[in-house]
């Protein structure tokens, strides 16, 4: 499905959600259109990661109110696997190790489930092997990684690059990067950012969850949102990120408390 540039990919209205009965999201509103790059920043505990997990459908979180429309559909009608196959991709903050399952197999099964969902033929082992080797370049990864178990023994940077490799193969419509920059040195950061930038297209959209402004020097956002206590308090352009860096989050919270109109 080709999405025209002005199409809304994600529309979040008054989303509330909790984990183990504790409310975390308390009325979140957001709209993401095709071709856009968004960043959500905020202090620890603001609910940024929770938001990304709720969008992906993690079972530990319960949606208690509000709605999320993804590509015209109620997102919560879909299982996590279905969301993935419809193009929702979450690059995890802490990618898990899966001993015994090779990267290559994992990538292939994942890729083929999307193909099947789209009514396309699945790729066999050989064709897929060719495809994946091409894509390795996006994240500058050594082919030797393919035979290793998923993330097993990978450094932090390698794990994050592996996430972006998966993204390169699945070509998602909505890519959610959950603190992808955490734990990365400057070189790894540049490779990851480069990969994300290569994959950003007019038909898809990217949502970055991040603490630090640094990543946004490399992946330049169209919109920066500041989140605190389960809500988005303010939205601005990339300059907002720099202002936060200089003044800290308390400034935004103070302004919100004072009821400054936005």
């Amino acid at each position: 499905m080709i999405i025209a540039n002005s199409d809304v990919i994600l529309s979040v209205r008054n989303l509330t959600a909790d984990v183990d009965g504790t409310p975390i999201l308390k009325g979140l509103n957001l709209e993401i259109k095709a071709g856009e790059i968004h960043a959500i920043m905020g202090p620890n505990g603001s609910g940024k990661s929770t938001f990304s997990k709720v969008l992906a459908g993690h079972p530990a979180y319960t949606v208690t109110g509000g709605e999320v429309i993804y590509k015209g559909q109620n997102l919560f009608d879909l299982d996590p696997e279905e969301r993935s196959r419809s193009g929702v991709f979450l690059a995890f903050q802490y990618p898990l190790e899966i001993p015994g399952v090779s990267n290559l197999d994992f990538l292939r099964v994942s890729f083929n489930s999307k193909r099947k969902h789209e009514g396309l033929d699945e790729l066999d082992v050989f064709d897929f092997d060719d495809l994946v080797r091409e894509r390795l370049d996006v994240v500058k990864m050594d082919p030797a990684f393919l035979d290793r178990s998923v993330n097993e023994g990978f450094s932090g940077g390698e794990k994050k690059r592996n996430e972006i490799l998966q993204m390169a193969l699945l070509a998602p419509t909505l890519a959610i990067l959950d603190e992808t920059d955490s734990g990365l040195d400057i070189d790894a950061l540049k490779i990851v950012a480069n990969g994300v930038n290569q994959l950003a297209k007019p038909e898809n959209a990217t949502l970055m969850i991040t603490h630090y402004q640094r990543l946004l020097d490399y992946i330049v956002p169209d919109f920066v949102h500041v989140m605190s206590e389960g809500k988005i308090l303010t939205t601005g352009g990339k300059e907002l990120a720099q202002e936060l860096e200089a003044r800290g989050y308390d400034w935004v919270k103070a302004e919100d408390v004072a009821g400054v109109a936005r």
Binding site: A56, H58, A60, P80, I98, G100, F106, V109, S110, L170
Partner: protein, 479 residues
């Protein structure tokens, strides 16, 4: 998370049927008379009766061990039938045409290839129903190579000297409580003899099927590989679903002479009891291989998926210099199953080597323990052991334990031990789900990857089966 985890069809144990056939049983209970009766029914030579009686008298003086990490209600040894066999004429069938069609049908249903058209051309099968061997395929072809593959009962008639020479040489009568019991009342099992220099031309396999409720199953298997010979043997087992527990106390002895190679594989799928732990087989087995000769090799591969309780330690005694012992195991427990299994590698000779790869998978509310012994004897100069024990936990109520024992009496040896624990929990499954992979496929991939090293050791025809069997047994276990 996909809500279908609980909705996944929990495949019922598809081997749970009972075959309606006339069987001859003796009344429950054990006494010297019962032992004599069993021996008489089989028309055994005198030495065999003496062996049994000695074992029985020994058993009376022994007490049941209580050290394993398993719990079960006390077994009433007088409440078991010690002999049950399909009613049939005395002589063994010469051809499959003469075997009761009901029995053939049973094995057919179990997927065991007995009939001419269905059998795998490179696998000879000995089919044991309750306590009795009912058919053995390819015997003539094997006999041409000098290979003897028949039931122990027949071996006692046709090759008594061979049996007398080796029976009890690896697992002596008084080795343990259950082996003593087995030595007294064993009914049948397989006998394999590979003469010097012969590489057995086909896989040999025995399939054990328990059918009669309340009957104990006591098989005895003896495999002898003479100098320079080679054989690969596989045993499979299933049983009907009864509410009561049944005791399966078997003994397997392997003897490898100089330069001989024995590969022994087991795929065990005894009825495991229901989700609440009612019913199921008690699988208390003693298996031991003696690497008597120089450069000999014995390799155990087991896939244990059934039984209410699995208690066994296939072991190798490495006497011959340069001999090799191997143990590859996947033990799966689900629901309320319990397993205390592992191996013993006893290094006696010089430059002996052993490898242990144990994979335990615990799901449901089960308990799965690995117990292993590696002993380096005072004369085992230059010997080495490598052990790897991995546990995988599925869900949050299962239990996994490891009890390794290492005894080193020689400082010119090397012993290595590695262990790891991993789990299939919500987070792992979510990672797969977020990449579009269903829960079923995710579990299957993770288990396959986990068991790879062991499945690679199984004869090819059975490796695929083992993979599928595990997926089947784990259906509905996640969530």
């Amino acid at each position: 998370m996909t809500a279908t985890v609980e909705n996944l069809v929990n495949q019922p144990y598809k081997y749970g049927f009972v075959t309606d056939i006339d069987v001859e049983t003796i009344p429950k209970g054990l006494s010297e008379d019962v032992v004599r009766l069993i021996s008489a029914k089989k028309n055994e030579p005198q030495f065999m009766l003496d062996f049994r009686l000695k074992a029985y008298r020994q058993w009376l003086k022994m007490s049941e061990p209580d050290w394993p990490h398993v719990h079960y209600p006390a077994i009433d040894y007088q409440d078991i039938t010690y002999y049950s066999a399909p009613k049939a004429p005395e002589e063994k069938k010469q051809s499959l045409d003469e075997v009761d069609p009901v029995l053939l049908e049973t094995f057919d249903k179990l997927g065991i290839p007995l009939s001419e058209q269905k059998r795998l051309s490179n696998v000879a099968v000995d089919a044991v129903f309750d306590s009795v061997s009912v058919a053995t395929t390819f015997r003539k072809d094997l006999a041409k190579e000098g290979v003897i593959f028949c039931s122990i009962s027949e071996a006692l008639h046709d090759y008594p000297e061979l049996v007398e020479k080796y029976l009890g040489s690896v697992v002596p009568i008084n080795d343990n409580f259950f082996s003593a019991l087995n030595a007294a009342v064993f009914s049948d099992g397989s006998f394999v003899f590979i003469p010097k220099g012969v590489k057995c031309p086909m896989e040999l396999s025995t399939y054990f099927r328990i059918n009669t409720e309340g009957a104990g199953q006591f098989e005895r298997t003896l495999i002898i590989a003479e100098e320079g010979s080679q054989v690969s043997y596989l045993e499979g087992c299933t049983a009907p679903m009864f509410d009561t527990n049944q005791l399966h106390a078997a003994v397997v002895e392997l003897v490898a002479l100089d330069d001989a190679d024995i590969k022994y594989s087991t795929v065990q799928n005894w009825f495991a009891g229901d989700e609440n732990g009612k019913g199921g087989i008690y699988n208390f087995v003693t298996k031991r291989g003696l690497c008597a000769g120089k450069n000999s090799k014995i390799s155990w591969t087991q896939v244990e998926t059934g039984s209410a309780i699995t208690w066994k330690y296939p072991s190798c005694v490495l006497v011959g210099d340069n001999s090799i012992g191997e143990f590859y195991s996947v033990a799966l427990t689900n629901n309320m199953q319990q397993a205390d299994t592992g191996t013993k590698m006893i290094h006696v000779g010089k430059n002996t080597r052993s490898t242990i790869i144990s994979k335990g998978i615990s799901a449901g509310r089960s308990q799965n323990s690995y117990r292993g012994l590696v002993r380096m004897g005072p004369k085992a100069d230059g010997s080495r052991n490598y052990s790897q024990c991995d546990s995988m936990l599925i869900g949050s109520d299962a239990e996994a334990n490891t009890f390794p024992y290492i005894q080193v009496q020689n400082n010119r040896t090397k012993v290595e031990h590695e262990a790891s624990t991993s789990k299939i929990g919500e987070d792992q499954l979510f990672y797969f789900a977020q990449r579009g992979i269903s829960t079923e496929d995710a579990v299957s991939m993770m288990i396959s990857g986990f068991c790879k090293d062991v499945f690679n050791q199984l004869p090819m025809e059975f490796a695929v089966e083992a993979d599928r069997l595990l997926s089947l047994k784990l259906e509905g276990s996640v969530g």
